[in-house]
Point group: D2
Chain length 308, copies 4
């Protein structure tokens, strides 16, 4: 076992420790969103000073080795064709997409992970059937996830373009990055950790991400618990591959969603935001995540907006 690896016992202890921090009652369905109090949300609006907005999503991707079932849009009507409406014609289309996947930007609902035969907060996996999630669906976040967003750019910290697949971000990295950014991650923050995954994909092309991916080390989740972070986003999916945990894949997913009730935002795009943050000389902003209203959905495609 390498230094970075975790035994099954260590992981399970960490899981129980993080779960014990995330106690909002047996009926809780909001998880770490409870950290976003009205006062914190109102304070986050103070981040808006320049009057500028930036997307944190990437355009839907085409077919690729890491995107075997790509989203599709089909035209329903074309302008210029004969129309049943007097005097005009419409352009219209249809969207089909997997909510989860390894390229398109999306948010995971709290029903997304079953571990130890339970979803978040002990909900039985049978709450999700072929008809969708009757509990813990993405519609729990229907009013949006709004708070102070903080971008920690780990490649910038380390002086590289991107972290290589298989590498992991530690709690020490996060602490160093917040210091470099001149801020302190705090309660109710929406934390975004850039690992450079998307830039690497853009520059070098896709690779087999199921086998090789950079993410957070599971122990780094203690940092998020202590700081009472409300959501975690990355330009990867926050998990490394291969897993460093004995007998468990996607350890960060298990800890975040299942133990901590933390919404994960996967495969975001930070290249636009990095430029704006560098220009503005600050790495925090008002952030709005607006999942679609998919009543029994396990997540949603999203376009998180940073407002500075």
């Amino acid at each position: 076992m390498r230094d970075s690896e975790m035994s099954a016992a260590s992981f399970h202890a960490l899981y129980e420790r993080l779960r014990s921090h995330a106690q909002w009652g047996d009926d809780d369905r909001r998880g770490a969103l409870n950290h976003i109090t009205p006062a914190r949300l109102a304070a986050a609006a103070g981040e808006v000073r320049a009057g500028r907005t930036v997307t944190m999503a990437a355009p839907l991707a085409g077919s690729a080795p890491d995107n075997p079932e790509p989203a599709a849009r089909h035209m329903k009507r074309l302008p210029g064709e004969p129309s049943e409406v007097a005097g005009l014609s419409f352009a219209a289309d249809q969207l089909t997409m997997n909510v989860h996947g390894d390229v398109d930007s999306h948010i995971d609902a709290l029903c997304h992970v079953s571990y130890g035969e339970a979803l978040y907060n002990g909900v039985a996996p049978g709450a999700v059937t072929s008809q969708g999630a009757s509990m813990l669906s993405i519609d729990e976040a229907r009013d949006g996830i709004v708070g102070r967003g903080v971008l920690l750019d780990i490649p910038r910290l380390r002086g590289v373009r991107w972290l290589e697949p298989g590498d992991h971000v530690t709690a020490d990295d996060l602490v160093a990055a917040e210091q470099t950014a001149g801020l302190r991650v705090g309660p109710g923050d929406l934390l975004f950790v850039r690992v450079g995954h998307r830039l690497r994909r853009h520059q070098l092309g896709p690779w087999d991400v199921a086998r090789s991916r950079v993410g957070l080390h599971p122990l780094a989740m203690e940092f998020l618990a202590e700081r009472q972070v409300a959501a975690l986003g990355s330009d990867g999916n926050s998990d490394t591959a291969p897993s460093v945990v004995e007998g468990v894949g996607f350890g960060v997913h298990v800890l975040a969603i299942n133990a901590m009730g933390l919404y994960l935002l996967d495969y975001l795009q930070f290249e636009d935001l990095v430029g704006v943050c560098e220009g503005a000389g600050r790495w925090s902003f008002l952030c709005v995540v607006a999942p679609l209203r998919l009543l029994t959905g396990t997540g949603s495609p999203v376009n998180p907006i940073a407002i500075l």
Copy 2:
């Protein structure tokens, strides 16, 4: 011709008048979003005081007479089933939906309407092919539409639960409603006009909206032009049915999208927001609209978020 009806000539004159107000150059693709300046956007953040967020979308609807091709979500994986991932299992699903339609909340891109053999700003309809929109797609709004939102509740003004299908909202209604709301609609505002369409549907069930719908009178668009509104949303689709314009259906769509470059948000849901505004005693808020990044799309499903 009833008093409320417009001749073809009057409509065309109105169209040209509104178009002459919307001049940001031949290459402009942002339309009325140009009204949202950084200063106005930054000022809008001042609307956030209570630290509360509200959805302005409705959950995706099922099959109904006004929704003949309903959105579908299908489960890709169920938690609890045998999993290829060590130690856990995932819930995952897929989304399919028409972007436009008469029930689900969505935004129209500026390529949505062809009138007089042109899209917005003279772009040729051939810019939209079976491969999507090569110009004026919804990705023009990729950084989100963020500004001061204003809700004008016309049924509240008139002391009714909802306006009946076929009725129309006039410029006088809008002026009266802003006075009642104690505010003045101004440059860069995102204007939301409640007609009660969705509440009526919820209470009485769906009807044939293609034949009978309440919306704005085309002449009311002059109010929006004068006030330099940046976007228009409604719980209907802003257009009446039957059309009051001789020889043109969807007159408001033509004026808004095609002449004014105004993004339309159709079939929103204001019931949650009305309650919050009543409680707060004010009808303005920070509003964030985050379209999905559909590169060549004619619009997007959205969940606009009001932040008070």
Copy 3:
């Protein structure tokens, strides 16, 4: 209980009786297709004399009260648009459809029904997961279902245009109809029972078929078992609504698929075939059913071809 109704006990006894007739071993996955021997299949080719073929399917239907999730076809490429292929352009499209439903012609695989916590031949329902059917999928019929087809036209027998919803076809009807048709239903035959459902729908428009439908009486399945029929098709779905069985909906589906291993073909279209059979003065033909190769599918859209 009306005369036509069955108690739970009577139905269960019938179920067991029919199941005892359908014994091809524990590993059998072909069910009643076992009745189609090479000799019978070769003999069926003798039905081809006029050299004429007829479709037994209806075109895919649009949205309607009995078709709330209609099939869709979307254009992928249009001829005449700019093409990446030298010298020509292609038309191409995409198909999306529910395999089962109440309008489109389709075949049910032997995994379609779970009754008494088992699929056909005692296979556990868990053989079907979100990934599809690992056993008893429609690909068991990949080589096609080919044999003598026999059309029994019950409205014709009774001198009506169609049987009314709620009515049922009895074993006596089937015997009378084969006599009128001048033939005897025998081993390996593909039996098609016309009830007039589709003609009624075409003439009067759709209705609430979940509540009111004409089909076979469950007791009529004894006729099919005795005659060793290999498949059963109808212009309805072979089951009446409301069910005549105490505590069990879709009694014929249960008996046919689950007890007898009989493939059901639902919502076929016999109007074309009736005309041809009347003209030819005979009601038997070579019939070919070619399900798509959907490896783990629960059925398939089909276009059964009658060859006379």
Copy 4:
């Protein structure tokens, strides 16, 4: 120009020559299906002697370099889950697939190719819009394509497992193969030419078929015209890549569909059939192709059935 290549002028002359053979009147929409007379169809039934059926389709394929938008099937209901139907539960699913593509077995309708600004028989390309094909759709073949099938196995003729991508099948190959098979291709036959494409894909894995594919040489189409073949199928798509024709890709598609009105069946699977034909010592059979009833479709997935 290599010996096998054709100049633009030679190709155009061939096109016109083949088109002059395919004259069934300006209103004709059946094309080469006109070669299947009732007498020929009835005679084809004499091919059925052993009473055996074989699929000529492959199962739907997953994502691969030659299948970037794979078909998908989603479960709508799972057996064993709580059911709204008394006493039983259903398995149900949904199918989504591109009709055309480079792996899944399908048939091309006569609207599939536009060449020289026309579809088959001079129909304008504008007959196909975003709403589908108003003329020459696959529903023209709604009654099935039934006739004598003939399989010519070119790798068997040449003593190889498969022809290499880029190679082409000549008219001489076809003549030699029919002699080896002990038959003569004749009027109304459905001709299937095996090149080994699918076996190679199965053994070696997928490759970039857009760049490198084995098919018929365009000049071989004269053989098909002289023999009055009614349809052409292959385990490739009948066209070579790169194209041997100056300035025209997919020359066989142009000649077959556009000039000759010949239905093409692409990416079939002959491995099962080859074994049966070898065992039976003959290479002809009754063949039934049953396209789905896609009213305005450009083709259909199919499972052609050989009956011996």
